[in-house]
């Protein structure tokens, strides 16, 4: 297909105002330039990631980066369509990037094989929008906290919209997070119930379910009998050993239902992945990226859930910011202070402020430990600070962080000299 032909419809959308776009939106070549020059980061090159990379490239983005730490496994091939049998064992990010680059001319995809935690704020700062298709809550929380920490009120471009997609079986969600402005991943954490963990003592003593027997074989029997072999969930012999051990234990306790397949499912912690669910969610998240980057249409505010188990159902709502969110609810508040006040008097005044009432606070700046009540060595070292004036300890406009054992949350204040 000719280049002109490929982008014809996209350019049309970018060149004419639609009924829903903002009044001050300017269609035309500037918008198309913005689209093509926007640097987008894709986190994850798995089930969702493959779809997202394909969609972004076909939506006209030209500068895409992708991070993934995993290598390709045979079980990925049914839905992660950028990978072939010959790619098994190779890093997902590299193979996916090369495939899409080859298929869609003119797009540059830069892979990084590694963890998101390997990269620092400078790295994330270069992108305009970050889109993720992750399978772990841990990684989502990390990127969420990092992006919120990066927001600098003086520099609006430090605010990086985060578009998060997730699927589990026939269910999925897409959400748009504007760090510090909208509800964040941490605010929404309790909407996702963690998988209940079976206490080790149940597994070790009286199993009730076939899964308990498998966990026992996997966690206890293996340690006991084969501790010199590192358990590998992709090694058929290992799975088979666990299966037989679990079966034997199940018979002792008269529990039925341990199968080879269940064993594999339990030890690999498999959540069934459905290709079409990934496609639906990836489509939704990538169109949000397109809309936010170009401004051509209003974006999702801010959470779309999709349930496909019984027919098709989706519901969109605005998740609210949690005022006591440990990540985004803890931004520095401005506080006017007299720079000639001593730190000791300042601490006392915190105890009188209605909104804080901090009786036993410890506090620091990024550089300095101002006052730390415990352990004793730090208390002794910081006690002389109590007699110093604030201007000798902090700069005008500097942020201090205050913790008090009476509160489960911490406070941040930006001290502005009167």
């Amino acid at each position: 297909m000719s280049q002109q032909g490929r982008w014809k419809h996209l350019y049309k959308v970018m060149s004419k105002p639609g009924p829903y776009c903002d009044d001050d939106w300017v269609p035309g070549s500037d918008t198309i330039d913005t689209l093509e020059s926007s640097k987008i980061l894709v986190i994850g090159a798995g089930g969702l990631g493959c779809e997202i990379l394909k969609n972004l490239a076909l939506s006209g983005f030209k500068d895409i980066h992708v991070i993934d730490m995993d290598t390709i496994d045979i079980s990925n091939l049914n839905r992660q369509f950028l990978f072939r049998q010959a790619d098994i064992g190779k890093p997902k990010a590299e193979v996916a990037a090369a495939f899409v680059e080859k298929r869609v001319k003119g797009v540059k995809i830069t892979p990084f094989v590694g963890k998101i935690q390997d990269k620092d704020e400078d790295y994330y700062m270069q992108f305009k929008i970050i889109i993720c298709g992750l399978d772990s809550i841990e990684a989502r929380r990390w990127i969420n906290a990092t992006l919120i920490g990066m927001v600098d009120p003086e520099n609006p471009e430090s605010l990086k919209p985060l578009i998060d997609g997730g699927t589990e079986g026939f269910k999925g969600q897409a959400r748009v997070i504007l760090p510090t402005l909208s509800s964040c991943i941490e605010c929404q954490l309790d909407m996702h119930a963690p998988r209940p963990a079976v206490p080790l003592c149940t597994i070790a003593t009286i199993p009730r379910q076939p899964q308990h027997c498998i966990e026992w074989a996997h966690q206890i029997a293996w340690q006991d009998k084969r501790k010199d072999d590192t358990f590998d969930s992709d090694d058929m012999e290992h799975i088979s050993w666990v299966y037989h051990a679990a079966l034997e234990r199940a018979q002792q306790f008269h529990i039925h239902g341990v199968t080879f397949q269940m064993t594999q499912g339990v030890v690999k912690n498999i959540i069934p992945a459905i290709a079409s669910t990934n496609a639906v969610i990836a489509a939704s998240t990538t169109s949000e990226v397109l809309k936010i980057a170009t401004g051509c249409n209003p974006y999702l505010e801010n959470y779309m859930m999709y349930a496909g188990e019984e027919g098709v159902y989706t519901y969109t709502f605005e998740a609210e910011k949690k005022p006591d969110c440990p990540v985004c609810g803890n931004l520095a508040r401005k506080m006017d202070v007299d720079p000639d006040m001593t730190l000791g008097d300042f601490i006392e005044s915190l105890g009188e402020r209605a909104e804080a009432q901090l009786k036993k606070p410890s506090m620091r700046t990024e550089e300095k430990t101002l006052y730390q009540r415990f352990p004793p060595q730090l208390e002794e070292h910081t006690r002389p600070n109590l007699r110093l004036k604030l201007r000798e300890l902090v700069e005008n406009g500097e942020e201090i962080a205050v913790s008090d054992p009476a509160y489960t949350i911490d406070f941040r204040y930006r001290l502005v000299f009167k």
């Binding site: 935690q117 936010i292 506090m363 009540r373 406009g397």
Partner: protein
């Protein structure tokens, strides 16, 4: 995109109505804030002490344990703690700075404690770690060894193990390996 940025600018302006914004100041990191809180909530008792080579850097410190009972009574054991900026997502890195004879601590000072590795969770705090460390000296655990010789010794001959611990703590050697004197 521009719309989002102008939303942020409006929010920032509302907050800075009286000006005095200035250049970007460094923010206290989430790790620092969490460590500040964790330190405050420690219970050290009289068998443990913490020292900070640089009191402004609360992410790096030394924990000294002086067990008052058990086989390691009378010893003074030092551990370096290094907390990274990813704390509490990552556990602190803990190393014994002396060469000691212990089933769960190898000769390089690496410590085998479940909550420092596989069982670490961000809800755990520094207090949980130091309680775990203290427990290692009260109840060395032979079933989860890093120093396999010491673990075998403990399992097969508890009295002999005790004697070896005493002599290693005094700076003697056990099976050809010499240890650091750690007695008070």
């Amino acid at each position: 995109m521009l719309k989002i940025w102008s939303m942020k600018q409006q929010q920032a302006q509302a907050e800075n109505a009286e000006g005095a914004a200035g250049k970007k100041k460094k923010k206290v990191t989430a790790a620092q804030l969490r460590v500040q809180r964790d330190l405050q909530e420690l219970t050290l008792g009289n068998t443990m002490k913490m020292t900070f080579p640089n009191p402004d850097d609360i992410l790096n410190f030394t924990l000294t344990i002086e067990p008052d009972e058990g086989m390691y009574k009378g010893g003074v054991f030092n551990f370096s703690f290094a907390v990274n900026q990813n704390f509490p997502h990552d556990p602190p890195k803990v190393k014994c700075t002396q060469k000691i004879y212990h089933p769960n601590i190898d000769l390089d000072g690496n410590v085998c404690l479940n909550i420092l590795r596989e069982d670490w969770k961000p809800v755990l705090n520094l207090n949980a770690v130091i309680v775990g460390m203290q427990f290692l000296f009260l109840e060395p655990n032979a079933s989860d060894p890093l120093n396999k010789d010491a673990a075998d010794d403990l399992r097969t001959n508890r009295e002999g193990f005790k004697r070896n611990v005493r002599s290693s703590m005094a700076g003697g050697s056990v099976r050809g390996v010499s240890f650091e004197r750690v007695l008070r």
